[in-house]
């Protein structure tokens, strides 16, 4: 049994060793996920600690069939960070999203600083790329994106879904930047 599976099962079964082991194995990426959104080290640390402890105590939030524990934890931390950002900084964030990209360059470059990601984004249609960048890099909700682009919310949701599935195909083992 590989180490990740042992850890995942320990986490599901709420074994004490798995709590610390999960943090040791994935703490850096969890902290990074929170920091990329919140941009504040203390807020990011609070977010990681709260989410990790909550998920471990619940136990049933994750199941091995879902796939990578690392991806599950990272998305949970990022979603909590987004929720906190939206609750506490709605006005400031909206002002920021309306600024030109160059004014928020640290956020944008922080997200696409690898050639593979830039290449993958190039495989999306222009509309898909624009939408995923607004959602992922600018942390906008699909309602905000719909409003900004003057499109129905349902259209934006479908486009986000198809864009992420396309990215998954490219990122998956065996996927290539030439795919599709």
């Amino acid at each position: 049994m590989d180490e990740e599976l042992v850890l995942a099962r320990g986490f599901v079964n709420r074994q004490a060793w798995a709590y610390e082991a999960a943090y040791r194995a994935h703490g850096n990426v969890l902290y990074s996920a929170a920091l990329q959104v919140l941009r504040n080290p203390n807020d990011a640390a609070d977010c990681v600690q709260d989410v990790l402890l909550r998920l471990w105590r619940r136990g049933d939030a994750y199941r091995v069939e879902r796939g990578s524990l690392r991806a599950f934890l990272a998305v949970c931390v990022r979603n909590e960070a987004l929720s906190r950002l939206r609750k506490t900084h709605t006005r400031e964030r909206l002002v920021q999203t309306l600024q030109p990209a160059s004014d928020t360059g640290d956020i944008a470059t922080g997200v696409v600083n690898r050639e593979s990601i830039r290449g993958a984004l190039e495989l999306l249609t222009e509309k898909q790329r624009e939408t995923i960048e607004l959602a992922y890099m600018r942390h906008m909700t699909h309602e905000e994106i719909a409003s900004a682009l003057g499109e129905p919310a349902g259209t934006v949701k479908s486009r986000l879904s198809s864009a992420l599935r396309k990215l998954r195909e490219v990122f998956a083992p065996g996927g290539t930047l030439d795919a599709g």
Partner: protein, 215 residues
């Protein structure tokens, strides 16, 4: 969505686009539907790839490390659980190969039960000597007399040794596995440290400091 498959909400969930109600529905459905769990996992993997492509800290702050470790160790709760397990006979005596040179009759267990119920006992974590050493703790009474060693998931067989004076005495063997293992050893000598060993080499050490002076 309700009882239907989660569909595109898998990707929207992974991108943090769902409100609390829809997110809860996705999580609930994915707990029972393998196909949707896989789709959700695929979406989460794609987002993880985006996260890892951004600014990734080389290490989380030490303060967060300390807080996470502290939050995961409610000592009163687990000590009470160990004591309760003694009382109702749940302790997994069979999971270890116990070599107890001083007491194989069960009175050592009685000693531990009495000490936990009526006396005071201490506990200390093992400090890893090498990276990847399993999490482990030792519980022992303030005045000495026995050791209760708990070892987390281990990939290799582990020997437990007590350091008495200048000598290292093997006292138990822990078999590898994902489950937390336990070993109880009655030992009349004053122990200065307990060590975990792999292939004869120490991988973790716990220092034993008794609260009462040696008789």
């Amino acid at each position: 969505m309700l009882d239907d498959h989660i569909g595109e909400n898998a990707e929207l969930y992974a991108l943090g686009q769902l409100g609390d109600l829809d997110a809860s529905r996705v999580e609930r459905h994915a707990r029972t539907c393998d196909a949707c769990a896989r789709r959700l996992g695929d979406a989460e993997a794609a987002v993880l790839h985006l996260i890892e492509s951004g600014d990734v800290a080389s290490e989380a702050p030490p303060e967060l490390d300390r807080r996470v470790r502290f939050a995961g160790q409610p000592p009163r709760a687990w000590i009470a659980a160990v004591a309760a397990a003694f009382l109702i006979g749940l302790l997994p005596w069979g999971v270890t190969t116990l070599r107890n040179p001083t007491d194989a009759s069960g009175s050592s267990q009685q000693l531990a039960m009495n000490a936990m119920l009526a006396g005071h006992f201490l506990h200390t974590p093992f400090a890893a000597v090498i990276p990847g050493a399993p999490n482990a703790k030792v519980i022992y009474p303030r005045e000495g007399g026995w050791l209760y060693v708990l070892v987390g998931a281990a990939s290799q067989p582990i020997e437990v040794a007590a350091v008495v004076g200048n000598q290292r005495m093997p006292i138990a063997s822990i078999s590898p596995g994902a489950a937390t293992r336990a070993a109880f050893v009655a030992i009349p000598q004053r122990v200065s440290a307990v060590q975990l060993l792999e292939n004869g080499a120490p991988i973790a050490t716990a220092r034993i400091v008794y609260a009462s002076p040696a008789p």
